[in-house]
């Protein structure tokens, strides 16, 4: 099963997509998936300093596991309100 990756706002514009599918690798974490994404889309590296991550709609640290079938959202600094 794949991983679904979601992009929003400035990051969606930079990547040119709001959603993409990525092959799952055994032992995947937020950081390992993020590193594969940065390799494929180097423009993401400009965002990583302030990026937060959510796995299946919960904020997650970089060492959190990303299971097969999970949704990983890359979350630039929020500005709602």
């Amino acid at each position: 099963m794949a991983i679904t990756v979601l992009f929003f706002a400035s990051l969606a514009d930079a990547v040119g997509a709001r959603e993409l599918s990525l092959a799952h690798v055994a032992g995947d974490t937020v950081a390992s998936v993020r590193d594969r994404l940065v390799a494929a889309h180097p423009q993401i590296s400009e965002f990583t300093e302030t990026l937060l991550y959510a796995v299946d709609e919960e904020y997650a640290e970089e060492d959190a596991p990303v299971p097969a079938g999970a949704t990983l959202a890359l979350i630039p600094p929020v500005s709602g309100g």
Binding site: F8, T50, P76, P77, V78
Partner: protein
Amino acid sequence: MLIRVTPERLDPEEAIAAVRRDESGAVDLFLGVVRNTNKGRAVDHLVYDAYPSMAEKTMGELAEEAMERFDLTDSAVFHRTGRLEIGETSLLVAVSAGHRAATFEAGHWLVNEVKRRVPVWKKEVWADGEEWIEGPESLGMERAPATMRGS
């Protein structure tokens, strides 16, 4: 509790009716509205992006925490998405409690937490350009190196 992320207009009357209970002695209503200027620049309109399912989940968790912390009788949090014109309401927070002090405190706390945690983003559109805003109060900016933190 009433939680909603929607491209439709936010209705304060609906929120007030939803949170008022017979035990409520006070209802506090906050509206975040679109301003025609930011940092000295004329704003034409705003566009809001959101991760709707997580935004609703996060708003629900925050409302639940507010209910407990401030002993509220009920709460409602709405956020609008899409294009908003000057003067339109982007964020609505309504809370009720037995007495007014709890409603003021809870409303203030909830608005601050929404701006810190809820995955929603605003883009400012000017006459001659546009830019996605990075919230200075957001969790992401709190973690950023000091040199990256703006106002």
